[in-house]
């Protein structure tokens, strides 16, 4: 498994479960009437768990890769470039929805959570496409 593939898998595993839990909580939160501080605390906890899981995983990967002479080459860059181009359009869609459409009808935490959702979606698409890229039958440079 290449370095980029390992990092993509780590990013998906560290990000998706915690943000799934976060968005499920956000759906239920309006019924709980949380304060601003509780909302910020919830986001901080989720972001911290994500960061810790990613950093620990990254340290483990770096330790295993210590003797590798080369970690990335033209194939990795081609796969990464293709995945990033697709994820860019997800992010662009999110920007239009959150920044140009939603402000007419929504405000506050709805905008914050929608922006966060599109960031997580774009990242998920990118990492998923990287993993698919390594398993696709043919990829020309």
């Amino acid at each position: 498994m290449s370095s980029l593939e390992k990092r993509a898998l780590l990013a998906l595993w560290s990000m998706c479960p915690v943000y799934c839990v976060y968005f499920v909580i956000q759906i239920g939160l309006p019924y709980l009437q949380p304060t601003m501080l509780e909302r910020i605390g919830c986001l901080a906890v989720v972001a911290s768990i994500h960061a810790m899981a990613y950093v620990v995983g990254l340290l483990v990967i770096k330790r295993h890769e210590a003797g590798e002479p080369l970690l990335e080459d033209e194939r990795d860059r081609a796969i990464d470039g293709r995945a990033t181009r697709t994820a860019y359009f997800v992010m662009l869609t999110g920007l239009i929805v959150v920044g140009m459409v939603m402000p007419f009808n929504n405000n506050g935490w709805k905008l914050v959570n929608s922006a966060l959702l599109f960031i997580v979606l774009a990242e998920t698409v990118r990492y998923a496409l990287i993993l698919i890229g390594y398993r696709s039958p043919r990829l020309a440079h």
């Binding site: 002479p69 990335e72 080459d73 033209e74 194939r75 470039g81 990829l139 020309a140």
Partner: protein, 73 residues
Amino acid sequence: MSNEVKLLRFLAQDMTQAELGKRVGLTRQTIAAIEQGRYSPSLDVAFRIAHVFGKGIDDVFHWQPGGDDRSAD
């Protein structure tokens, strides 16, 4: 596009994928993908691989018209 990289490695005193990768600036995984026909390298890398084995590029890589190659771009 097919290639003779695996055969040429074997003929070059059983050169490992990692060793070939190191000499041409690719990872071992990419050399494996090239051998299995899952990745078509850039022209520059194709020339470098051919150079390592002391062959011409068309002795190492073969292209058939009507193949199912598709670009990453």
